[in-house]
């Protein structure tokens, strides 16, 4: 079997599970699964060197926030143990949380029962991920902060002589943010080539098409001007996604701009253009259309 077939299977599973939840919950961040399924599937199955999960297959309930609290838990363990030679994964746009949870299930890092806790009160499997949510390690929901936090982590790991890389999953909307560019110039300044960012460039943000919200293009040239090595690829091409991580970038951060389609794999959503950020059903016919699509593509719902 071509190892990339497994990656494609994971990507398909991500879309199926997120579509299922969107139907079940009457709405959700479905287009993010459509655009990023191959990116996350490739990172988890082909690119990152992570150990097996060290977290409980079924996530614990919310144990309170960090501080003087012995019950606090982190979601980082789903990405394996912390070891000097292993890679680390950091998700920045944490409204992709469900996509990440689905990835963890499809890659055997979280039990399917964990997914059933999604968005349930008292659960850590929250809609907008926090650092206690499975697969999450940072507080990133206020967009633009994760990359800077990873700078500190990468500098700290360098001080300790660690060789593992630091992967950051980002969204293109975050390149509207000043802090993202502060982080980029700092990554270049400190020659942090241990940091590799994969950007889901789906051209979408909360208001709609990014190019009608704010100008972030030409992204590749802007990143290069800030001292990064940037490559632009088809974000649904798993071979290209896997190969991109091998791009030479000694002494520079690497940014993989994965150009994606916000309804890839769930084409019935295309009628919603140009707004994809959060899929809502305003009419029963909309939900019925997605249900029909689901049955035709994946068979019956679980």
């Amino acid at each position: 079997m071509n190892p990339l077939d497994e990656t494609r299977r994971v990507a398909d599973g991500i879309r199926r599970r997120v579509t299922e939840f969107t139907l079940k919950n009457g709405g959700g961040y479905l287009s993010q699964a459509c655009s990023s399924a191959e990116i996350l599937a490739t990172l988890y199955t082909r690119v990152m060197k992570l150990g097996p999960s060290v977290a409980p297959p079924v996530p614990p309930p919310f144990g309170g926030v960090p501080g003087k609290n012995p019950n606090y838990t982190t979601g980082a363990g789903y990405n394996g143990p912390r070891k000097p030679e292993l890679d680390r994964f950091f998700i920045s746009p944490v409204h992709y949380a469900l996509v990440l949870y689905a990835t963890l299930v499809e890659t055997g890092r979280m039990a399917e029962e964990g997914l059933a806790m999604f968005n349930a009160d008292g659960s850590t499997v929250e809609m907008i991920g926090a650092e206690h949510s499975p697969g999450h390690e940072l507080m990133a929901g206020s967009l633009g902060q994760a990359l800077s936090q990873v700078i500190g982590i990468a500098l700290g790991r360098r001080r300790k002589g660690e060789t593992g890389r630091n992967f950051v999953f980002m969204s293109d909307g975050e390149f509207m943010i000043g802090q993202t560019w502060e982080a980029m110039e700092t990554l270049s300044f400190y020659k942090l080539d241990s940091v590799i960012a994969y950007v889901d460039a789906n051209g979408q943000s909360a208001d709609g098409r990014i190019n009608e919200v704010m100008g972030i293009e030409p992204l590749k040239e802007r990143l290069e001007a800030f001292g990064a090595v940037a490559v632009e690829i088809d974000g649904h091409d798993v071979e290209a996604l896997a190969a991109a991580a091998e791009t030479p970038h000694e002494g520079k951060p690497l940014v993989v701009i994965a150009r994606t389609n916000p309804y890839c794999g769930v084409e019935v959503l295309s009628e919603r253009a140009p707004k994809f950020h959060y899929i809502r059903f305003t009419k029963p016919e909309e939900k019925e259309a997605l249900e029909r699509f689901f049955v035709e593509k994946w068979g019956g719902q679980k």
């Binding site: 926030v65 650092e131 994760a146 800077s148 500190g152 500098l155 700290g156 502060e182 110039e185």
Partner: protein, 333 residues
């Protein structure tokens, strides 16, 4: 009392010598925050972040997650105002041991409203997990390092620089006010630079028959020192708080909360920057203009006890241990 210069500059280098976990972050104000000598002595432990305060605060959180204790140095205003979201989500929420060393508290800078941290205590003490400390003299500036480093979570420090007095021979202690004077008529709480001003006024007030119980607060949060409640409960006339901060949310509010929660039925007079932005000028001018000098305290005491004590500027000047402000020059930026 002696005046000393560059206390933090010299002390930090000595203190950090045997602490490899201590790293210093700076935002293009390395000399202005007295960490130039650290950068020269331990270049490997010094991180320049340029004018990227939001990025710097998040990166400090990241570095702390790896087991280091970043001591982040810049003007207070650029951390708690410009980078407040980053302070909260990248540092305070995860309860990380980042030490936020905020320079130019209140009107200690001629830089005007853009540089004067006048409501930082109010904002920082509203943040869960945050410890808030304030230095008032050279002994505080030195001993605050050990106090902060012993705290598991994040710490915000109102730091002094340049020429500062050495008022105390004992180190700062977490959650413990220093009692500087005993008295029964008025209880006075000070913090930071108002302590020195108050020490001039209380001597003269005592000579005119008004006895003052004076406590210097160095821990704004947690504000749990039983000595505060005890002192606030005792005075014949009332309680005065005196701070280099707006009268909203700082020392005055901290004391008011303690008094209200314990049903202390005493008058409370809150002296400080009266809920206004300030402007640029010399420190003596600003302290006079915004009512933060010894004379302002004397007038407040007179009002509280209902008596004209016939104290003028000359009386206050006479108690100065020269040269307190004799050769004082406004710090450049």
């Amino acid at each position: 009392m002696t005046l000393e210069t560059q206390v933090h500059q010299k002390n930090l280098v000595k203190w950090a010598a045997d602490k490899p976990e201590v790293v210093v972050f700076s935002a293009d104000l390395t000399s202005s925050t007295e960490v130039r000598l650290f950068a020269e002595t331990y270049p490997d432990r010094f991180y320049s972040f340029g004018m990227t305060e939001q990025n710097m605060m998040s990166a400090a959180g990241g570095m702390a997650r790896e087991g280091f204790t970043p001591w982040v140095h810049t003007f207070a205003i650029f951390m708690y105002r410009r980078a407040l979201d980053q302070v909260q989500m990248s540092i305070a929420y995860p309860n990380l041991p980042v030490r936020i060393v905020g320079f130019l508290p209140g009107i200690t800078t001629p830089g005007g409203a853009t540089h004067q941290a006048i409501e930082d205590v109010a904002i920082m003490r509203a943040i869960p997990n945050m410890t808030v400390l304030e230095t008032g003299d050279a002994a505080d500036v030195e001993s605050v390092l050990d106090v902060a480093q012993a705290i598991e979570g994040p710490v915000y420090i109102r730091m002094l620089r340049g020429q500062i007095p050495r008022l105390f021979t004992t180190p700062m202690q977490l959650g413990r006010a220093r009692r500087l004077r005993r008295g029964a008529d008025v209880t006075l709480f000070t913090a930071g630079i108002t302590t020195e001003e108050a020490m001039r006024a209380t001597q003269v007030l005592e000579q005119r028959g008004v006895s003052i119980e004076h406590l210097q607060v160095t821990t704004h949060k947690p504000f749990t020192d039983p000595a505060v409640l005890e002192a606030a409960s005792q005075p014949k006339y009332g309680v005065i708080t005196f701070e280099n901060h707006t009268t909203v949310g700082g020392l005055g509010t901290e004391v008011a909360e303690v008094m209200a929660e314990h049903g202390v039925g005493k008058k409370l007079v809150r002296l400080g920057i009266p809920d206004t932005y300030a402007h640029g000028g010399s420190r003596p001018y600003l302290m006079r203009h915004y009512g933060l000098d010894a004379l302002a305290l004397v007038r407040a005491v007179e009002k509280l006890v209902g008596e004209d004590l016939n104290i003028g500027e000359d009386d206050l000047a006479a108690v100065r241990v020269e040269p307190v402000h004799g050769d004082f020059k406004a710090e450049a930026l």
